[in-house]
Every structure is written in structure tokens, then in C-alpha cells.
Symmetry: C2
Subunit: 394 residues, 2 copies
């Protein structure tokens, strides 16, 4: 193995691999085929905008190193970004790319046969983005001697507790999103086009801080405005912001693909009383939830604190209150493990990192206030230092 300037040392990659193999053992999985780009990155360092063609990292119980298979033209990218030996960083020919006659997963299955890792119990990430129905069909067809089982989120659950280095990257991301939220607030005025604000926001996110550059975020900046605040995932238009309207800012910072998201709501001109009142209720609810965060408590207990708090004011929220976050790629910075919602009995542990996002969406308006936090040794450490408020700009 060559020593390269990777974001993590080889020892950390080896620890991740060991934990993954432990989890595979516990579930009787001999070979794991991971297609989630964040899991690929986590296991090997692989980093590139190449997930639009099939690609996988394969962990075999009997092999010391994972095998990363991408499109041939991306192999050099793997040589730059992974710790893998050249023999384990390989590519499939370009004739397999978006072909109607053959599928890249055909080649990947053939390669597994060539390497003798095509039998036993093989886990696949059935619900990972980019692991399409066609990918699965081709892989299963090519592995007739294996028992293929669902291993969705197996690696995600290994990722759920962050190392000191991962926490450090998330703290850097927090500095980026704090700075960016301020830029958004300063930039947005009546008459400014939404696209220009989105541009300024993304400029800040990607540029980062003088000390640490930013990365693309797994969601683009969300800034629904006016009636658009009644729904969370509209992106910008080229229409201007209007006085008398609210804008929800759901932004993120990212460093080495580790995210720190933050949401705030601002209003141009004097806000309506219902928005002011609701923001108070939401902040009280967020405080109640964060007060419940400590190792040993469960996800649903945190949500219950929120639910109880806002319920006393007659408010309710059907959607989940938050989710684990960390390293990720588009389209989602959520980790697809724990959620803050009823029924999620995951016990909080130190160095879990969670985005608590209190979003209330009504018929024609809404509000969001969020905090990304680390479960600390005895409570909750907010990663951002950015006051909660309904931000009003007159």
C-alpha cells in the first residue's frame, strides 16, 4: 500500500473494514457488494463524480483489501483517491456504459467469478441509490452459485459513530455553513433574483473558509420563498424575492464530503404574527428535544420531547424530526440509519451526529429551524454556533 495524502490514514480505513466484516459475520455474509457512493468512499477513499455509471466496492471476508470496480476511465481517479493496491482498483470497459445490450453489473459479476468470490452468501444494498433494479437483476444473473441477500445500510450502520477525524471534518463543515448562512441573510433582499442568491450561497459553500475548502453538498441549497415555504424541496427560480414574504434557508457545509446542514427562516419586512408565534414554539420544541439528547436515551425519546413541547401549543408535525448525517454524496446528506421519530428505539451513543430539523409546513407557509449536533459524552454538542431566530430584514 502506498502512503498517499488521503483524508484518513490507512489505519482508519482498516478499522472501518474490520467493523464491516464483523457486521457481515454477524449476518452470515461472505461477500458484500456496496454500491452506495458514501459507503464506497468510507471503505476505500474512492471519490469522484462517477456514480452515474454502476460502480461497487466489494468486501470479501477472506480478502485483506476491498476491491473497487468503476468505469475504466475512472480507474486513475481511484488511484489518486483510494489506498487500494492497483490490482484492487479496476475498471470495466466503456462498451458496458449505458448500453442496451450489456450491463456493467454483468462484467462485475464475471470479475467476481474470476476472483473466486462468487459463492456463499453475498450481500447487496437493495435500497442504495444507484443500485438499480437492472443492476440487481444483472448481478443475480451472473452469480448463480450465490445466495444473494439484502444488506442495505449494513455499512451505513458502521458509519453511524464518528471517529475524531470525522468529527473534525464536520466541525470544519459547520464553520462553512455558519459563514454561508450569514452570506445568505446579507444577500437576500426584495428585488434580488433567487438564482443570484443561490449562486452566492453555493459560492460560499464550495469556497469554504480560508483554512478549509468546501465541497459540493449532497443537496443543493434550498431556498423556497413565499408560498414555496409550504414545501421543503423546491429549488430557486429566476424570480426576485418579494417584501412581505418568508424564505426558508436549508443549507449545508461539506468538507471531504462530511456534512453539517443548517436551516433557518427569514422574512423580508414585518412578519405575520402566526410566523412569529410559530417560530417561538419551534425554538422551544427544539430546545426540549436537545435537552433530551444524551447517551442512553433513544431516538424516539428525543422526538417525544419535541412532540410534547409543541403539542402544548396545539402544533404537530407528522414527518420525522431528524436523521443521522455525516459523509455523503448526492442526492441526500442523510445516512439512512436512525431517525428521530416514534418507533425508532436506536439508543444514542457518543459521537453519533444528527441533524435535527424542525420543519413545519402548512398549506401556504412554513418554517424550518435546525441544529446539527454530536451526541457528546454526557449530552449534546451543537456543531454550529448560529443563533436560532426568525430572521427579519426590514
Amino acid at each position: 500500500m502506498s502512503e498517499k495524502a488521503l483524508p484518513f490514514g490507512i489505519a482508519e480505513f482498516q478499522e472501518r473494514l474490520a467493523k464491516t466484516k464483523q457486521s457481515m459475520d454477524a449476518r452470515g455474509i461472505d461477500v458484500l457488494v456496496a454500491a452506495d457512493p458514501a459507503n464506497m468512499n468510507y471503505l476505500t477513499g474512492y471519490d469522484g463524480w462517477s456514480f452515474y455509471t454502476p460502480q461497487v466496492v466489494i468486501v470479501a471476508r477472506d480478502l485483506d483489501q476491498p476491491i473497487c470496480i468503476v468505469r475504466q476511465m475512472d480507474v486513475n481517479g481511484g488511484r489518486v483517491t483510494t489506498y487500494l493496491d492497483d490490482d484492487n482498483m479496476i475498471g470495466f470497459p466503456d462498451t458496458y456504459v449505458q448500453s442496451t445490450e450489456r450491463h456493467a453489473m454483468d462484467w462485475i459479476a464475471e470479475e467476481m467469478v474470476r476472483r473466486g468470490i462468487h459463492t456463499g452468501t453475498i450481500g447487496v444494498e437493495m435500497d442504495a441509490y444507484y443500485y438499480t433494479a437492472a443492476s440487481h437483476a444483472a448481478l443475480v444473473r451472473g452469480l448463480p452459485n450465490a445466495t444473494v441477500v439484502d444488506a442495505t445500510a449494513l455499512v451505513n450502520w458502521v458509519r453511524v459513530i464518528k471517529s475524531p477525524q470525522e468529527i473534525e471534518y464536520m466541525r470544519r463543515a459547520a464553520r462553512i455553513v455558519e459563514k454561508t448562512m450569514q452570506i445568505a441573510y446579507d444577500f437576500i433582499e426584495p428585488g434580488v433574483r433567487q438564482c443570484d442568491a443561490a449562486a452566492a450561497i453555493y459560492q460560499s459553500e464550495i469556497s469554504g473558509t480560508p483554512e478549509h475548502g468546501g465541497d459540493y453538498t449532497s443537496l443543493v441549497p434550498m431556498l423556497p420563498t413565499g408560498v414555496g415555504t409550504s414545501t421543503p424541496h423546491l429549488t430557486w427560480t429566476d424570480q426576485p424575492f418579494v417584501s412581505g414574504e418568508a424564505t426558508i434557508l436549508e443549507l449545508g457545509g461539506a468538507h471531504h464530503h462530511y456534512h453539517c446542514p443548517m436551516a433557518r427562516t427569514m422574512h423580508l419586512g414585518q412578519p405575520p404574527q402566526k410566523l412569529l408565534d410559530t417560530s417561538e414554539i419551534v425554538m422551544e420544541g427544539v430546545a426540549a428535544a436537545l435537552d433530551t439528547v444524551k447517551p442512553g436515551n433513544t431516538c424516539e425519546e428525543v422526538e417525544a420531547s419535541w412532540r410534547h413541547s409543541i403539542g402544548r401549543h396545539g402544533l404537530s408535525k407528522e414527518s420525522r424530526l431528524g436523521y443521522s448525517t455525516g459523509v455523503n454524496y448526492p442526492p441526500d446528506w442523510g445516512e439512512h440509519t436512525l431517525s428521530l421519530r416514534p418507533g425508532d428505539k436506536t439508543v444514542l451513543q457518543t459521537n453519533m451526529t444528527i441533524h435535527l430539523i424542525a420543519g413545519i409546513w402548512m398549506d401556504d407557509w412554513g418554517i424550518e429551524i435546525s441544529e446539527c449536533f454530536r451526541v457528546s459524552e454526557d449530552g449534546c454538542e451543537k456543531l454550529c454556533d448560529y443563533p436560532q431566530a426568525l430572521y427579519v430584514k426590514d
Copy 2:
């Protein structure tokens, strides 16, 4: 149907629907379940960064309007962005989001049963991004009385010939990427951090022009530099550009999600002779290929012109030379229909739009020069007016 300020008139949506139904008829498909966000947008106008949860547009031969199903909190976004009646713009409950106990496709299948569109031959997009193996398994499980068949790219092939309005949006995107390429060239200097250049580039892409705002592009700006130019899909780091190194700029403009990509290569300081020589060969090859573009010729004929031209200089390129582009969402602005490569016998027709990308990647260096063009009535119309060259900055 309400008349809203959508990017396309209802008549155009109805024409798209009619063509889709024609194609369904030709393949004996009664009901089509489209999960590709670009296809969802194309058929209904639906637009939002919500494709990180399952969502579909359903076209049933016997129904006048498509049905769009998204996460409940995104329904209001659909009310803003689609032409659909409220009854056809619906959501699944949040308990189905990233749950280990139930899948959103369970609910979608149940809704199809409720609406009586659960029998006959049902087409699904087996290889669409975000249509995961788990999505497919849940849908098939929920439709026991249907014959489920692969309809990957059925709608993509309807999209392949652009309307005048679509061409207009791509021309606007061309203005955006021209402006952005110039900004990239001006910004990149020895000592400038890559992340700051990426930030300036994306700022320009999203801001757009004073007349027309930009949108997020389906690929982030690619700017591999130095040895990174040996591979196309590395994104930026926070390291500075270095004198004596090349940088490949593969950028895009987007307007209403319609893309115009462009690639150029620049070099800081005097370039090595091999890069100069190769750029000349590449430009000659691109010209030969573009000369072959006209209605009636095939995709493989265009590629053959390129192959023959560079072959005379001893160069070759294994990967495809280009692909159809237009409306799209991350992670790819390619349309997954025609490719410029041997064996692709698709006959060019007027108003196809293609990104011809001549990328040569060697062991430790590379070059890219591209043109996005429209197949015109009698030849080829380049969408961008930006000179081809190896850009050298001393």
C-alpha cells in the same frame, strides 16, 4: 387544469403524453411507472430536489392525465410546478420514508390498486437512477395481477427530439456556459485554490445571465488538474493550481434543467509539446465528426469520422464520443439514449441535441474539447460560440 407559469404550456405536456402513450402502445404497455426525475419533469413539470425518496409519475393508457406520487411534504411543491389536477398530485405518508419496515413503493402499489391501474402490462424503468432494487421488489410484490416489464428509456426516447421551446432553453444554457468558461479561464491562476475556482464557476452557472437565471447542473463543475487530468471525474480539492500543469474544465449551463455542457482544456505556463500536438489532432477530429452530422446519418458514422481522423495521427479513444443531452437531474446530464460510438445505428434527426465530448485520457495527462450541438435541418448547429483551443495562460 389551472394555467400556471410553467416552463411549458399544457399543450406541450399533452403532446409529450400522447407520444409516450404511442410508444407504450407499440410495446403493449398499459401502465408506465416512471421514476427517472427527468422523465417525471418531462411528463408533468414536477420539479424539486425530492428524488432522494421514491417518487413516480404513472401514465395509464386509459387516463387523461399522469399521476404524480411523491413524499407527502413535497405535494405542495408539485402543486406549484405541475399542471396536474390536485387529485393526480398526491403523496405517501412520512412513515414510509427510509423505514426498515415498509417501503414507499408499497404505498404506491396500493394506490395503483385503489385507482384500478394495477393489472395488465406495467412498464417500469429498471435502470433509472433512484429506481432501486428494493423499489422494484416492493412494486412487483404489490402488483401480483400485473405483468411487469422493462420500459427503461421509453420516455427518454420520446425526449430525444427537442421542441422549439426546449431548444430555446438549451440556447440560454449555452449563453450561461460560455460566460462561465470565460470566468473559469480568468479565475484560474497558479496559487488559486481549486475550491475557490469551483466556487466561482458554480456561482456563474447558477446565477446565469441577466436575462435568464441558471439552474443546478446534473454534474458539478469538473476541473481535474495536473495528474488528475488523466481521469475525467475527479472534483476539486483545496490545493492550489500549479504552474506547468493542465486543467480540464468540463462545465455546464442549465436553464429549467435543460443543459448545455462544454469542455475545454487550459494550461498554466508553456504547455508540453505532446499536449499542443494532441489538441490539434483532437480539434481536427472534432471538426471531422461535426462535418458528418446531418439528418439521415447515423451515430456510428459520426464517431467513425472522428476515429478515422485521429487514427491517421496514431491516436485512439476507447470510450464513446458523445451522447444525447437535454433536460436532466443529477447525477447525469446524459439522456441514456443515443451514443456516438461503434454499433449505434440511431439515425440522426433534426432537433436531436448531442454533447460531443472528445476526451483523451492517458496515464498521467489528458485533454478534453467538446461541442454541444443541435442536428439542424441540413447539418449541425453548435449551441456554443466559444473557440476551440488549448487555452494557455502564461
